[in-house]
């Protein structure tokens, strides 16, 4: 857990908004090590999703450096950033973003189609990923036939199937009831432990925060507090 895989250095992000500019992130400095289970917490507009998008190379900083897996995001071409996402980054979205006309199997398989895997390798990996999330019996179902919790599990399987180094989850529990939210968070926590995948969340959900080992509080685009909660939780539990 001592290897830095994400380094955010003096990152500022500004968006044009009419005639003016809106500053979403102000001079952010953060480091993440491999295997962390952390999250950005804060109210709407605090910059959580923007930071997640920059780490996921879907966006780039206006100023500063965002280095992910040794690659500086703002210097990557479209092709290079696509390759980075394809090989090393998995996404879990609030609204799952499953491809509606594909089956569960095909949705999970999609990420592997972009890599040079054989059909047999893909099948093995997809079934393994579905087993992680407990949906191996639903491989032939279409997303429209799934409950919210099942849909989000498919999204997790799709993010995990290529065994990425980093999974970025943007409000993954926002559309789920408490039971399903705990279910998917337990699954992610387990995968984090088993595969040593780095999980980063953007959330304002208390249920998610319960599972995080590191919580970074964002306010108005700035880091208000960066707390390691694993130690506290261990201390509380031992008392």
């Amino acid at each position: 857990m001592d290897q830095n895989i994400i380094s955010i250095q003096n990152v500022t992000k500004r968006y044009p908004m009419g005639d003016r500019e809106f500053t979403a992130l102000k001079n952010i400095n953060l480091e993440f090590k491999k295997g962390e289970f952390g999250g950005f917490v804060g109210p709407s507009g605090s910059g959580k999703t923007t930071l997640l998008n920059i780490i996921g190379s879907l966006d780039s900083p206006t100023e500063g450096k965002a280095i992910v897996m040794g690659k500086r995001i703002s210097e990557l071409s479209h092709k290079e950033s696509a390759l980075l996402r394809n090989l090393h980054i998995g996404f879990v979205f609030q609204v799952y973003n499953l491809l509606p006309i594909y089956t569960v199997y095909e949705n999970v398989e999609f990420a592997l189609l972009l890599q040079d895997n054989t059909k047999q390798e893909r099948k093995k990996a997809v079934m393994e990923a579905l087993e992680w999330v407990g949906l191996q019996d639903m491989a032939d179902k279409k997303p429209s036939k799934l409950s919210g919790g099942e849909g989000q599990r498919v999204a997790i399987a799709r993010a995990m199937v290529k065994r990425p180094q980093i999974v970025l989850a943007d409000e993954p529990s926002a559309n789920l009831d408490a039971k399903n939210a705990h279910g998917i968070l337990q699954t992610m926590k387990q995968l984090n432990k088993e595969l040593n995948t780095t999980f980063l969340f953007a959330t304002h959900d208390e249920k998610v925060m319960e599972y995080l080992d590191r919580i970074i509080h964002l306010e108005d685009g700035q880091v208000a507090e960066d707390e390691i909660v694993t130690a506290k939780r261990t201390l509380t539990n031992s008392k």
Partner: protein, 385 residues
Amino acid sequence: MKLSLILAFRNLLGAGLRTWLNVGVLSFAFVVIIFYRGMIDGWNQQARRDSIAWEYGHGHLLHADYDPTDPFSVQDGHGILPRNQQQHLSPILLRQATVYPQGRMVPVVLKGIDVNQNTLAFPTRMLSGSTADIPAMVGTRMAKSLQLKQGEELLLRWRDKNGTFDAANITIAGIFDTDVSAVDNGQIWISIEKLWTMTNLQGHATFFVADGGYQPQEIDGWKFKSQKELLQSLDSIIQSKNIGGSIMYLLLLAIALLAIFDTQVLSIFRRQREIGTYISLGMTRWQVVGLFTTEGTMYSLLATIVGCIYGIPLLFFMANTGIAMPEATQDMGVSVAGTIYPVYGAGLIISTIVLVVISATIVSFLPARKIANMDPVNALKGKLQ
């Protein structure tokens, strides 16, 4: 590319009715274009074949004073060609005359033809086999317009070479059926030897029809028009028909392509989240552009398959039974058979498929290229306008 094909195929099948509506319209355009072009090609081939067989042979050697487009040149546009220069040539002599069927007076062109010729398809044995004093043959159109029947006698008045009027009864020895109205309407065919005698124009011809063995040469007082030159007017008529037809089928194709374009524009707007998801999963923007373009192209490929399923039996049936042409088209001045058999060549089918596939690819690419400039973050939120 393989991935684009797999995904595009999945996406199209997944889109259900929308896909099949587009494919249906496009396949209809396909079949109609092939049918129409096959029809024009069939007509073209038939018209050329019949015009060569009945009128043009392998070319005409025309008297220098004779202009086929000027009826006044018939009077003096004739002459004698030395015997040794008549090899592979069959003489035709034209004279103006008048006939009087059922008390009416009808001006006609009297045409003398060698009864032993084999260059043109005229059944000249009708003339050689008749015992009548002046046996004549007419085409079905002429027979119909003058209400003539085989064996009927008809008063003919003509002028000899000195301009003196003469008249005699001719006998309709036979009625021939041809698709070439240019050798039928307003014409009466008799033996050229008889015509020479009647007009005192012994050995004269207005023009000669060449057979396949004729080698064109410069002959003073005569001009040679090759088969190709003679077919030029027919070619230009067919060309103009082709252009007219092209406008019709391009309009049809445009409607089908507009449906694809519209679907693509709507797709890109409606599937923003999907586009964002593709990019987040590791596709490059141009891969997504390629995917959407391939989807559009696959409409045309599916349309080819669907078009083949119902088009091949339909077009095969049409090619065998032919399309009956209305009677009015017989008087168009260009050879039109009573039934036209469409001809579907490999070139026609391949060029139509290529035209439709390329057009579909272009109209799919035009809206899809916008994806290259899409912000994936906004696409994921579905916020693009």
